[in-house]
């Protein structure tokens, strides 16, 4: 469909105390319409208590072409995980 409305990314907090999570995207003419559309598209089954909308063009994303230099160097650096510490038995939930 030919749609001149810009794209928006929708973040919904499903419960108080939890963080907003990315739910998806939609089209809207401005932020107010984006909020209403998000309410109708993403919270109609009682999914949320708060909505954030962000214009997709305002998001700066990493380029998948650069994944090699950005992410691969971390793959063989297991020592960056805190798995080498001996935990005292008294500490239960880590």
């Amino acid at each position: 469909m030919d749609n001149n409305w810009p794209l928006w990314e929708i973040f919904v907090r499903s419960k108080n105390g939890l963080e907003h999570r990315h739910f998806g995207s939609l089209h809207a003419a401005d932020e107010e319409m984006a909020l209403e559309n998000a309410r109708d598209v993403y919270t109609r089954r009682n999914e949320g208590v708060s909505i954030w909308v962000v214009k997709s063009s305002n998001i700066t994303a990493s380029n998948p072409e650069n994944n090699g230099e950005l992410f691969e160097p971390a793959q063989d650096k297991v020592y960056r995980h805190p798995t080498f510490y001996k935990l005292p038995d008294q500490v239960k939930h880590m």
Binding site: D40, V41, R44
Partner: protein, 251 residues
């Protein structure tokens, strides 16, 4: 029957929601965009949900072993009491929005009064509906502003819809016999008293939307008495088809 007036009064309110819900339901999958399509369908489902509460209550007091489905699907056209406004067709998106806004403003004023009804069931249904209808009005009002104050084309279409739908607004404030009787008992709302607030709110918004308030002096009425426009028969044919073809079918 406990009270024929009460029964007719409930149907007078509920039929508006049923028929407008049906009209919006016709658009399911045909909205101008995915987002507005879902919004319209949500509003339709809100209205039909409210209708069910009213019809269940009406069926209970009818004393005739009726169900909500009998009331919704098995009446003749002349027995539906909805106003002419809500049965008007989905000519284009401007009409859908205009019809919705002109009804939503009235609907919210009505429910705000009805929540203090002496009838506890009606008061409870009204209270629950207020949140839904507040959103309906926000949605339709925002769109009236967007289209009215948008491009020359959207403004012309919105103006056309408002112009054509305006003559159906006054019927909203006509008092039927059931209205008068129920208002006297403190159960119903005297809708004639809502008229001033309604036209003030609607014309204020039209001004914001840079739309002209129609100057029509002719107003159509009749739906409340069962005298409907030519569109109603087609709408009911769609609405009643399944129940008429397969009597007593269950979903």
């Amino acid at each position: 029957m406990k009270s024929e007036h009460l029964y007719n009064y409930i149907l007078g309110i509920a039929d508006n929601s049923l028929i407008l819900g049906q009209r919006l339901g016709e658009l399911c999958g045909h909205g101008p965009s995915l987002e507005t399509d879902i919004a319209g369908t949500n509003i339709s489902l809100d209205l039909i949900g409210q209708t069910r509460s009213y019809y269940q209550y009406a069926a209970k007091i009818s004393g005739e072993n009726k169900t909500e489905d009998d009331i919704a699907f098995l009446r003749l056209e002349r027995h539906y009491k909805n106003v002419l406004l809500v049965e008007q067709p989905n000519t284009h998106f401007g009409y859908v929005i205009g019809r919705q806004y002109l009804f939503d403003v009235f609907h919210l004023l009505l429910l705000k009064e009805l929540q203090s009804s002496k009838d506890e069931t009606l008061a409870a249904i009204a209270k629950k509906g207020i949140k839904e209808v507040s959103y309906h009005k926000r949605f339709s009002g925002d769109w009236v502003k967007r289209l009215g104050d948008g491009t020359p084309q959207s403004a012309a279409k919105m103006q056309e819809a408002i112009h054509d739908l305006w003559p159906y607004t006054q019927e909203l404030f006509d008092m039927t016999d059931a209205d008068t009787a129920m208002a006297l008992e403190g159960v119903g709302v005297d809708v004639s008293k809502l008229k001033k607030a309604y036209y003030k709110e609607v014309t204020d918004l039209f001004e914001l939307a840079t739309l002209e308030v129609p100057q029509s002096t002719y107003f159509s009425r009749g739906g409340k008495k069962g005298v409907h426009s030519e569109h109603m028969g087609y709408l009911l044919a769609d609405l009643q088809y399944m129940q008429r073809t397969y009597p007593n079918m269950q979903w």
